[in-house]
């Protein structure tokens, strides 16, 4: 069964962590838009997308992420990604997402990048 995306926002210092659970598909559009809106309303300048090893992300979901990256770019926000499985690191790389958001393996490294 398709599992609806769940995103919770957690502020860590000046970084807004998007904690992303369950599937990321074409159906995740509204929830990503809302999460971004909330973060942006709070004046966020640094965003960390936190995924989990067992995430299922398909091309429809990647399209949603690309739209999010487009918004962060327009609004001069920095953005990093953490927690992806090796498979999805490879996929994000193939698609070119890594040109616009660096991918880290540990939270610490990602936070350091955004802080620095």
């Amino acid at each position: 069964m398709s599992q609806k995306t769940e995103i919770s926002l957690e502020k860590q210092g000046d970084i807004m962590v998007f904690d992303i659970q369950k599937d990321v598909t074409a159906l995740s559009d509204a929830i990503f838009s809302k999460a971004y809106q909330d973060a942006d309303n709070q004046g966020t300048k640094k965003i960390l997308l936190k995924f989990y090893e067992d995430a299922y992300i398909n091309s429809g979901g990647i399209a949603i992420l690309i739209q999010l990256l487009a918004k962060t770019r327009k609004n001069n926000q920095s953005i990093c990604i953490v927690g992806l499985s090796e498979h999805f690191k490879k996929i994000f790389n193939m698609v070119g997402i890594t040109k616009f958001a660096k991918i880290y393996t540990t939270m610490d490294d990602a936070m350091d990048d955004l802080a620095g």
């Binding site: 069964m1 398709s2 398909n58 091309s59 399209a63 990256l69 487009a70 193939m94 070119g96 616009f100």
Partner: protein, 133 residues
């Protein structure tokens, strides 16, 4: 469809590939390719009609795993350049739709793919992964 037929196909193909000896990273490639092919079959091939079927067939022989995904559609029409060559820069600049990555991923992830094989039952995509080493 409402139960995520692409998930079922994904999990089945993963079990199959695991049993015949594929390594986890290849199985992940297969899962993504199968899921994209099924989503396309449902969305573009069968145009999301509820009584249409997507039929998935898997076979393993001589170290070659092949999987076909059939839909009732007319096949893939001539594709615009943004599908053949997706460009992330253009997608980010909103000069190209962010969609259209499914076929691209399938081509990248499997060893061989044939689209537009037409059969009595409609359109078929055939993907092949080779077991190496």
């Amino acid at each position: 469809n409402k139960f995520g037929y692409e998930r079922i196909a994904m999990e089945c193909s993963a079990s199959f590939a695991r049993i015949v000896g594929f390594l986890p990273d290849r199985i992940d490639d297969l899962k993504t390719a199968v899921s994209e092919a099924c989503l396309n079959a449902m969305e573009h091939g069968n145009k999301s009609h509820p009584d249409t079927r997507v039929v998935v067939n898997m076979q393993y022989r001589d170290n070659v795993f092949s999987i076909t995904v059939k839909d009732h559609g007319d096949g893939i029409q001539k594709l615009p350049d943004y599908i053949e060559n997706p460009d992330i820069n253009k997608k980010i600049e909103n000069l190209q739709t962010p969609r259209g990555l499914g076929l691209f991923l399938i081509k990248q992830l499997v060893d061989q793919v044939e689209f537009n094989k037409m059969t009595d039952e409609g359109h078929m995509v055939r993907m092949v992964l080779k077991l190496t080493g």
